[in-house]
């Protein structure tokens, strides 16, 4: 298995790297603060908490989002949505439009600043009852929603 990002996949919006960096950086901040506090307590030689913590922090918040971005991709077909993600734990999901129950378009505060949104489709299945696709340009997400809705409408007639 080497075709980790097949060429036919549509990549996410590059701004996803930035938003995901901001989100992880904010989310992990408490740990850095915790390390700083331990540092101030002077339990071990100076730097023994803060330095490794900071290295991990920089790696997770800076490098990981870019990798995550490289391995995410989707294909918007005429009758199905395919979402591919992950390298170590690879998953490749297909949801036929004919099985979509409802569609969410979410926008968090960080996403909104960068004009991104997250598309979530809900199915009736127990496994994969929600399939999420983050990091879409907002207009794209709305267009995809409209296309799916139209497909559902068309299939039924």
């Amino acid at each position: 298995m080497t075709d980790d990002a097949p060429p036919e996949l549509t990549p996410l919006d590059p701004a996803f790297i930035t938003t995901s960096r901001i989100a992880t950086a904010l989310g992990l901040l408490p740990f850095v603060i915790g390390a700083a506090v331990l540092e101030l307590a002077k339990l071990l030689p100076p730097g023994s908490f803060l330095v490794p913590m900071f290295l991990v922090y920089a790696f997770v918040a800076f490098t990981v989002p870019a990798r995550k971005y490289r391995h995410w991709g989707y294909v918007m077909g005429t009758d199905q949505l395919r979402v591919v993600r992950g390298y170590m734990f690879y998953s490749d999901t297909i949801v036929p439009f004919g099985r979509i129950q409802h569609i969410d378009v979410d926008q968090g505060p960080i996403d909104r600043r960068y004009g991104l949104s997250k598309l979530t489709v809900h199915t009736a299945g127990n496994h994969n009852s929600t399939v999420t696709l983050p990091g879409l340009a907002h207009a794209d997400a709305l267009a995809m929603r409209a296309a799916m809705r139209a497909a559902i409408r068309q299939e039924i007639l």
Partner: protein, 513 residues
């Protein structure tokens, strides 16, 4: 609306309607119990400050804050009745826009709780039968608006329903008995339900509540003393000789076995007495029970998959059980509908045929999984085992016995993996998917292609290296995972299923006509 709150992510320009403002107060008042804890905290916090005037201020602040946030979310909540969907936008910071196509709405329920009723309001819920419960709720709108919405959804759906052509099984208006169990069958089922659970329950009780007993339950010397009091001496037992002791042990053992069977039979008769499955025009109807008779109807079109289960002993007698996996809407506790607890394969395929699931006819070419999958799992067990052995070698007093024990563990694990590999089969034919697994509880799952909701191919780090994949099918109310597939085969199966799935829409297969 006000530009200040304009963060609407709907670019279509349609603003949509707000909920009724009085609903805010209804929700506020009915939400008061949830505020009890913060209120108590506020009161206690204020009491410490020695200023009694602070208490009402704090209480007022908590209430005002709650009301403020409710108002804010009310302000940010819009629903919009479109041409082909209902859209709900909500969220104060995180904005969510949910779109529910009319075709997917299974039911519109209108609920009026006493307080809302006094204010002429009602709560409208749109149910789609999606995998996760909370679909879309409008709380609250006026009763007129609620009725208008319901009528609107119904009229949209009525227009659709005419155009639907549902692939249907043979129509039978009169009820036909598909399967029934007589007393003898129930008794046999009871024998297979052998259970020593009563001892576990009693033991658990004894452990939990032994402080209530006037003696120490676990003190065997006291029990021996008790026996001695009633004339049995330990020395007497020792004195009866080898044969006598064996007889006593045998007696104890048989009584244990007897109690196990009796428990199983008793419980089974209570639950399954007079089991009867009939087919009505509405679907399957099941009646059973001795004292509490249950009567459950499941519409045929709700059946998503069938599970045929058996065990190593009952299989020799040809006994299997049949369950239907269904859209769990009627009852939360039973998502699998037991259609036949103990039946021969002939009886069982007749029932499943009525649900539109055919017996495997030999064309499904059941295949074994790639051996490599299990070998990898055993290999993964090796490193920790090696480390443990090394540790034993260095630290333990008698390393050999303990190491033998560890090696035995490995052998047992290998046996289990081998059994799993031997029993596991997957297969696919033009209509259905098959997956068989388990050597103790042997389960064969059958699912028609068109009931598949989504398909996922996953690979862990090792699967990636060796080109093995797992194929996970999303099925409403159940799961069907095919493991240990070579990646190309997984892709092949996926595209074959997708072809069938794309042809038929969800609404066409899961709605009553």
């Amino acid at each position: 609306m006000k530009p200040a709150i304009d963060g609407s992510i709907d670019v279509t320009g349609q603003e949509g309607a707000r909920l009724h403002i009085s609903g805010l107060f209804v929700a506020f008042i009915s939400g008061l119990p949830q505020l009890l804890f913060p209120l108590l905290a506020a009161v206690f916090g204020a009491r410490k400050s020695d200023n009694p005037a602070l208490i009402p201020i704090m209480v007022g602040a908590v209430l005002a804050l709650s009301l403020f946030f409710r108002w804010l979310s009310w302000l940010r909540f819009r629903y919009h009745i479109g041409d082909d969907d209902i859209r709900v936008e909500k969220g104060i910071l995180n904005r969510t826009a949910r779109s529910i196509p009319y075709e997917r709405i299974q039911d519109v329920s209108i609920q009026q709780k006493p307080l809302a009723r006094m204010m002429g309001l009602s709560e409208v819920k749109f149910e789609t039968g999606g995998g996760d419960g909370d679909d879309a709720k409008l709380s609250f709108v006026t009763l007129d608006e609620a009725n208008r919405l319901r009528a609107l959804v119904r009229s949209r759906k009525a227009g659709v329903a005419v155009a639907q052509n549902v692939p249907e099984m043979a129509e039978s208006e009169d009820t036909e008995t598909l399967f029934a169990m007589d007393g003898k069958r129930v008794f046999i089922l009871g024998l297979y339900s052998f259970s020593l659970v009563i001892f576990a329950v009693l033991g658990g009780f004894a452990q939990q509540f032994d402080f209530l007993l006037p003696f120490d339950f676990w003190d065997y010397k006291r029990w021996a003393g008790l026996a001695e009091d009633s004339g049995v001496r330990v020395s007497t037992i020792n004195g009866v000789g080898m044969a006598g002791q064996l007889i006593l042990a045998f007696g104890a053992f048989t009584s244990l076995i007897f109690i196990g069977f009796a428990t199983g039979v008793g419980r089974t008769i209570l639950c399954e007495h007079g089991f009867r499955l009939t087919q009505t025009s509405k679907g399957f109807r099941r009646r059973r029970g001795l004292f509490t008779l249950t009567d459950v109807v499941m519409p045929t079109h709700r059946v998503q998959a069938a599970v045929v289960q058996t065990g190593p002993i009952r299989k020799r007698r040809g006994w299997h059980s049949l369950k239907f996996v269904s859209l769990a809407q009627d009852s939360k506790e039973e998502s699998n509908y037991v259609a036949a607890p103990l039946a021969t394969l002939d009886e069982l395929w007749r029932i499943s045929k009525a649900a539109g699931i055919a017996a495997p006819d030999g064309n499904e070419c059941l295949r074994k999984g790639a051996k490599l999958h299990w070998i990898i799992q055993i290999a993964l067990l090796m490193p920790p085992l090696m480390i443990a052995m090394l540790a034993l070698l260095i630290f333990a007093d008698r390393p050999l016995a303990l190491m033998l024990f560890l090696a035995l563990l490995l052998v047992i694990a290998a046996c289990l993996f081998w059994c799993d590999w031997r029993r596991y089969r997957f297969g696919i034919d033009t209509q259905q998917l098959y997956m068989r697994r388990g050597w103790w509880r042997q389960r064969l799952t059958l699912a028609p292609h068109i009931k598949v909701q989504s398909i996922e191919i996953t690979q862990g780090p090792f699967g990636r290296r060796f080109g093995l994949a797992t194929l996970k099918f999303g099925i409403a109310g159940g799961t069907l995972d095919m493991i240990a597939l070579p990646l190309p085969m997984a892709r092949e199966i996926r595209s074959a299923v997708m072809e069938k799935v794309a042809e038929v829409d969800y609404s066409a297969i899961n709605q009553s006509r």
